[in-house]
């Protein structure tokens, strides 16, 4: 496999993403909500009104950290679905597949394009989240809660793994979809387990410590591997040309 070929496809896709306003809005809106909206909630509800105790505040901050894992699952869906179904709609797969590029190089290129912008956006928003959260909770806690091992593990393990998971899932869903919105809608099903984890954290059913995050990362990794094999099976030129189009 030649990474250079995959990169050519990825660069082309990212250039197209930059020209689609709704994709840009999607890439900016959610990270903005996570990076500024969540600390603002802490500031308004917790810190300013002194409504939460220090322990409760830590629990909420911890649960909020997991939103970055959820966000990393949501954002690639938007791009991956567009990237794949977009090719179908523009009927550009046939000339593309007629070039000397292998199926795996093409798939890798599409995956890179759907992976890099969302993960970068999530990382940038996490910097805002940690900075603003510390700024607005320091007076209650007496110290800066972020960065810590929990969010570190979420950012370094859960975020990339869940991004890969949603890309793999989007490839499978997109193979049957003929409409970008429909593909995006169906692909969002993949984030339901992430929300369940979040709710379980909020109600105290599980504690989001490094051990739990490690287990979650392991489960996502296994799911990633399974979806990788399924998506490579789906993404084959004959299948694409005779059944996708």
């Amino acid at each position: 496999m030649r990474i250079s070929k995959a990169w050519i496809v990825a660069a082309k896709d990212m250039r197209i993403f930059l020209r689609k306003k709704y994709l840009i809005y999607s890439l900016v809106a959610l990270p903005l909500l996570l990076g500024i909206g969540l600390p603002l909630v802490l500031h308004l509800v917790g810190a300013r009104k002194q409504a939460l105790s220090g322990t409760a505040l830590l629990s909420v901050m911890n649960a909020f950290s997991f939103f970055f894992g959820i966000g990393a699952g949501v954002l690639p869906i938007i791009l991956a679905s567009y990237s794949l179904v977009g090719e179908k709609i523009e009927k550009s797969l046939e000339p593309l597949l007629a070039t000397p590029i292998t199926d795996s190089e093409l798939l890798l290129g599409k995956s890179i394009a759907a992976f890099i912008p969302p993960v970068c956006a999530i990382y940038i928003s996490s910097i805002f989240f940690m900075g603003l959260s510390d700024l607005w909770t320091h007076n209650i806690l007496g110290y800066s809660y972020f960065p810590n091992w929990n969010i570190g593990l979420i950012l370094l393990a859960v975020v990339p793994l869940s991004a890969l998971l949603s890309i793999g899932w989007s490839i499978i869903v997109s193979s049957r979809a003929t409409d970008v919105r429909a593909a995006q809608l169906q692909s969002t099903l993949i984030i339901i387990p992430f929300f369940i984890i979040y709710v379980m954290t909020e109600i105290g059913a599980i504690t989001l410590d490094t051990k739990t995050i490690g287990i979650i990362s392991g489960v996502i990794l296994v799911a990633d591997i399974i979806l990788f094999f399924l998506s490579t099976k789906t993404f084959q030129r004959e299948e694409i040309l005779t059944k996708w189009t």
Binding site: K12, R15, E90, E94, P95, P100, L241
Partner: protein, 306 residues
Amino acid sequence: MITIENLTKKFGEVTAVDGLTFSVDEGEVFGFLGPNGAGKTTTIRMLCCLISKTSGEATIGDYHIGKTDDSLAIRKMIGLVPDNVGLYDDLTAFENLDFYGKLYEVPEGRRRENIERFLKMLDLWDRKDARAGSFSKGMKQKLALARALVHEPNILFMDEPTANLDPESAKTVRDFIMEVKKQGRTIFLNTHNLDEAQKICDRIGIIKTKLLTIGTPDQLKESRTAPKTEIRLAQVTEVLVSALRKLIPNKIEVSGDKLLINVTDPDKENPTIITAIASSGGQIREVTQIVPSLEDVYLQIVKETK
């Protein structure tokens, strides 16, 4: 350059292409004619290594279709203009070509040179920075042609390149194909347009799942339909026709004030026919030689397979 032997493609129970055998020489423009669903696109897709063959053999240059190792080499030496142009509407004309040039590993300098050359040839250079989505159908088709040539392939596959184009755009595309032919490239052209095939193809194959016939346009016309001499008279009478039938052995049809006479060698037979008419008292107003068109041949061949 392209050799095909007993090439077959089945989709489940349906046979899309059945035992094709023919070859296309280097520098030749080969036209592939056939009705919708005849297997033309499937054949091109197999030759471009886009889909697998069910059985048979095909080679492009020294490379075998269906061999994984050869597929990339084949795709490197061919260019494809598919039936749907498949351009990226959000990329400019230049970016579309540049992307494909990169995929074909054309060095940057050469790539820019080729893009400029082909866009200028197709009158698109002034619109190089405009998004492909803003182009008309004809402009998109021209851009797709440039895209297929950006890496200077030896063989060009075209799937109905002038379909749904206005006459002016179709002519530009045809002229460009002729220009490409002059450069010595081999062209495999799928088309519905018989006039186009007759004008630009060196040889034509007619397919309807199976290859029905193959030859130069003239060979095809001669092989199927006899030429006719049409003679318009001042008046056609039964007496005149029966007198003529005694004088000449040719088949005579009457249509209003015209006689349609089957001939095999018009130069030899026409003077005899005209003399016979004159001697039978017929007054000739006009003599026209009717040469069968490729369309007549095509329709006849396709009809025979029904």
